[in-house]
Amino acid sequence: MDLRLGDIPLRQTVELTHIDLPAEEMEPLLERGVLPGCRICPVRSSPSGDPIVSVDGSLLALRRETAACLCVRLLTALQDAS
């Protein structure tokens, strides 16, 4: 149920549902388009194992600690079509 971005395998697009971070750490994410409802896809991991995600056509490098605070849900085929 409580799926985090850090658990998602590479190249699987998911939808962000909630950000579990204090306001001052959340705001920079929100401003860069990482907000509830957005589609987000881990595209590769950095040499140190931190995720690099694609969101809205931007590539964003995060720390895995941050990725562990981003709640996501899988896109079912049905939702994809709508």
Binding site: P36, G37, R44, D56, A61
Partner: protein, 640 residues
């Protein structure tokens, strides 16, 4: 201070005190980071502010005048990029203050140009709402139109303009396509009455009524509706960038590529520079000899040949090495690799206790500490920012390079170390850069656990697509760099060498100059000597250490002049031979280490004072670095 200005010094270029009454309207360039604001600014004004392919390049407001044909002019202000108006960092505060009309010395803008990267239209248009709420005439520029269409993206800009209720222009700021439409907008800008200019920006839409996350999501839905109605087709991801990232961010290849780039830079500083340096050397010593034979024997000839030519010339020889360094830095910055390097280094920064964001300012410290200290404004936590600027001077700035190159060439044999890949000289140079990094890491580690205790902040880095650096922009970088270098040599070093030369001429003995040991300069040097004797330095180096407080490379000019006067009888200027005679290898290594650590740069001290609003940090930093330098040299001369 006039002569000590480095590039990027706001006192030199950032402030504009506009006259009252105003003759030209003020137009502000705003937009998200890396959207091409400065590229457009440079196009419109003909200025050359720094452009590079990573977010957070501009950290200061820069004003320039645009001539629009006839008598019409507009003042354009380029601003740091922002994603919103929360103003968490100092550079974002500058942008907000200018827009709100609170920036001292600057009128509230009469019109705005909002410039966005059209390949990421949806995310970038999040700025539109708060900007339009300001109710100032606004032009929306869809920049990077070339990249959008090349990768199969599209948008109906007239539909977008209609939906948003703003005028739109498509541009390629790099080539200047679409620039006329921007100029046409500027030509229509008019000075506004003061009563219309007070305003406050709200970052969080809907104020306090909604939780922040929902408020942003709401705004986002509105933007999406507009963008969809305008038929926005997002471009395909850049395959070129993906392939390069596959290498640059690979678990094994990534760090290896990083290392290879570094080794290549250092090796080429020695190998490629040699023929160029020989050329410059021949030019300088040739012209010096020509003057020496053409002018009659006089004090003036001595001043010119033994003082100025020997002093300034010995520094100018190092121009090729500086240019090679900047060529590589330019390629790295313009290509987009810098942002990847920051990602690779982030974990280490995290362990040290610094923000990953701080890596980019630190890297720019390899050119010069002054703009690097300013660039630390992009670091949001105040303690992290202080820690970043405190360790910045340990990054080997380009002013140290001539000193390193001279001493290495004089004392380290030109022999291979790793076969053909790397020679001993390049290895020592690399070691000196490495020592600076170790000092920076150790210092940051200590600071973050004592004076500036705080949790390491988060890390968020946008990775721009790779772009092929244009020859024009690289060429201009090198040209500007040569000008800065030669200007410093022509002003500071010239002035110092003249003063030094004069103090070698007195007190007169039988109407002629004294032996250098008995001259004013020699006596002063001998006063300093006891302090540096434990390091194996003689009084000549002592004088050099004092004059190098103005700027590091001045030590070379100083030694050039001292030995120029001392060895005036033998015509050839050979600073290296003179150093080999007067300095032991241990002391030479000690001197190198001294230069790695010591904060011999008044411009850095001055900019530290301004950026920390007080003397506490610069004094602490200066003392700390001097102590390290002294201890380092003291140990080195005993080991080697």
């Amino acid at each position: 201070m006039g002569d000590l200005h480095h590039e990027g010094d706001p006192a030199a270029s950032g402030t504009a005190v506009l006259s009252e009454p105003r003759d030209a309207p003020l137009v502000a360039l705003i937009g998200p980071p890396n959207s091409g604001k400065t590229t457009l600014f440079n196009r419109l004004t003909g200025l050359r502010q720094k452009v590079a392919n990573y977010p957070g390049v501009t950290v200061e407001k820069h004003v320039g005048r645009v001539q629009l044909g006839g008598e019409r002019t507009v003042d354009l202000v380029d601003l740091p990029g922002v994603h919103g108006f929360s103003a968490r960092t100092l550079d974002e505060k500058i942008t907000r203050d200018v827009l709100e009309g609170r920036m001292p010395g600057l009128h509230p803008p009469d019109a705005l140009v909002l410039i966005v990267d059209s390949t990421r239209l949806e995310a970038q248009l999040m700025l539109v709402e708060p900007v339009l709420e300001l109710e100032v005439p606004t032009l929306l520029v869809l920049n990077m139109w070339d990249e959008l269409t090349e990768r199969g993206g599209a948008v109906d800009e007239s539909a977008l303009a209609e939906r948003l209720g703003v005028e739109i222009v498509k541009t390629n700021a790099r080539l200047g396509t679409g620039i006329e439409a921007v100029q046409a907008f500027l030509a229509r800008a008019a000075v506004r009455a003061p009563s219309q200019t007070e305003r406050t920006l709200t970052n969080v839409p809907g104020g306090v009524a909604l939780p922040m996350m929902d408020a942003f999501a709401e705004r986002r839905r509105r933007v999406r509706a507009v963008v969809e109605a305008a038929g926005f087709v997002p471009p395909r991801p850049s395959g070129f960038s993906e392939r390069l990232d596959h290498l640059a961010l690979h678990r094994i290849w990534g760090p290896l590529v990083f290392l290879a780039v570094v080794v290549l830079v250092f090796q080429s500083i020695f190998t490629w520079a040699v023929p160029l340096m020989d050329g410059v050397d021949a030019l300088i010593s040739g012209s010096g000899e020509w003057i020496a034979t053409t002018l009659p024997e006089s004090w003036f000839r001595s001043l010119l040949v033994d003082g100025v030519w020997a002093g300034v010339g010995s520094v100018v020889i190092f121009l090729p090495q500086i240019l090679i360094l900047f060529l590589f830095l330019g390629i790295l910055e313009d290509s987009g690799y810098m942002a990847r390097a920051a990602v690779i280094a982030d974990r280490m920064m995290y362990r040290v206790g610094l923000q990953g964001r701080a890596f980019l300012p630190l890297l720019s410290g390899y050119a010069c500490a002054v703009p690097a200290i300013l660039a630390a404004r992009t670091v949001d936590d105040e303690r992290d920012r202080l820690a970043t600027i405190f360790v910045t001077p340990f990054m080997t700035c380009s002013a140290r390079l001539p000193v390193y190159a001279l001493l290495i060439a004089a004392f380290i044999p030109d022999e291979p170390l790793l076969g053909p890949i790397m020679g001993q000289r390049a290895a020592v140079l690399l070691g000196l850069y490495g020592l600076g990094i170790v000092a920076a890491i150790g210092t940051a580690f200590l600071l973050k656990r004592t004076l500036l205790k705080a949790q390491a902040g988060s890390f968020l880095m946008e990775l721009p697509p790779y772009r092929i650096p244009s020859l024009r922009s690289l060429g201009l970088r090198l040209l500007d760099r040569s000008k800065i270098f030669l200007r410093r040599a022509g002003r500071i070093i010239f002035a110092v060498t003249v003063v030094l030369w004069a103090s070698t001429q007195f007190p007169r003995v039988d109407g002629g100059p004294p032996l250098i040991d008995d001259s004013l300069l020699g006596r002063t040097g001998q006063l300093i000597e006891p302090a540096i004797e434990p390091l194996g330095f003689d009084w000549r180096i002592g004088i050099g250490l004092v004059t190098s407080l103005a700027a590091r490379e001045v030590i070379i000019g100083t030694l050039g002049t001292i030995y120029g006067v001392e060895d005036a009888s033998d015509d050839s200027l050979d600073l290296m031979a003179a150093l080999q005679r007067d300095l032991s290898t241990g002391a030479a290594i000690g001197l190198l280490i001294f230069f790695v650590f010591a904060l011999q740069c008044m411009s850095t001290v001055a900019v530290m004072r301004r950026e920390t609003a007080g003397w506490k940090w610069p004094i602490l930093q200066f003392t700390y670095m001097l102590a390290l330098a002294y201890a380092g040299a003291f140990i080195a001369v005993r080991i080697f």
